[in-house]
Symmetry: C2
Subunit: 202 residues, 2 copies
């Protein structure tokens, strides 16, 4: 049996970007297989009484997050552009379509590359990741068929698969993104990525 880590990510999440860009390299160093599990934080936050990102609700935490992300991205050699002060409504973005397309792509072998491309477009290029044309371009760049994917993402199977991922995340105690699970063990945050992979390979 191959050891695996479930990688729980949400496209609205800043720190999920860091993990998405580096998890495959770190996992392969340890002989661990990663199951990419897009999910939605919206229902989880709503159950806590939040109608948006906690980084918007708690201002000091939000200010800190943007600075911390900039430092972490630089350390990892990743480009990171926070939304401009006058474009604060650009955060959090709606990642629903990107999550459904990722699920379609994961069945066809282009899901991981697509997810990374979405994060790069969102955080390195300032793109609107709910825009259909942008998503079509990213599907094609990842090796998928944009027209087929646009149809497939609206299928009952894909819609229910995303709901099932979110329900499964909640059942495992996930409350933020990125998260990682190894059996019953939950790890939260990009700064626990190595711990999760080490746990899986121990």
């Amino acid at each position: 049996m191959t050891t695996h880590v479930d990688f729980w990510f949400e496209f609205a999440s800043t720190y999920s970007y860091l993990s998405a860009m580096r998890i495959e390299e770190e996992a392969s160093k340890r002989g661990v297989v990663v199951h990419w599990r897009p999910f939605l934080l919206g229902p989880i936050f709503a159950a806590q009484g939040w109608n948006t990102s906690p980084f918007k609700i708690y201002e000091a935490k939000g200010r800190y997050m943007w600075r911390d992300m900039a430092r972490r991205a630089e350390r990892l050699g990743l480009v990171f552009k926070a939304p401009a002060e006058d474009a604060v409504d650009r955060f959090p973005q709606n990642g629903l379509a990107a999550a459904r397309l990722t699920l379609a792509g994961l069945h066809e072998g282009w899901g991981q590359a697509f997810a990374r491309a979405v994060y790069k477009a969102e955080w390195a290029e300032g793109a609107d990741i709910s825009d259909a044309q942008t998503l079509a371009r990213l599907v094609a760049a990842a090796g998928g068929d944009p027209t087929a994917a646009a149809t497939r993402m609206q299928s009952p199977e894909i819609k229910s698969a995303l709901r099932a991922n979110t329900d499964d995340a909640i059942a495992r105690g996930v409350f933020g993104a990125p998260s990682f699970t190894v059996g019953e063990e939950l790890f939260w945050g990009d700064d626990r990525l190595e711990d999760a992979l080490d746990w899986a390979s121990a």
Copy 2:
């Protein structure tokens, strides 16, 4: 001018325990001086609408924290005992007296040892750190005079010094504990301890 890091800690905080026990060793490796700055999270949490620890308000996050703390403590070779399920009212503890005593001790050279002793009593031994007799024992063990310290902690100077620390923490954007500041740079969480020290010594 010696490079220094301000170490912001609160005695009710679980993760502050990890940092308190290891910061001096990590700092000395890098030639960095640590200024120990006890403060109170109560006023900061109250300003966010919280009347207790977010780990109690947000259940999934709380459950995660206890497990994460156990894993991190084991990794660092520290004993950590979470309050028993039926003693959940023991968290968060009231760290006011311990914080005032620490400030008294920092002026007299026994503050750091006392702070570490309080954390050890709280998290490794399950002690009540608001208990006057327990605190007197810890002051003595750290090299202070318990009787003099009990008087000194009630002085206007010590009371206002703790308020000033809390105000200074807020002014620097601190929203949780432990935190570390190097000039204008804020780092939050025990998992940013190395980053903060590296920043100070760069």
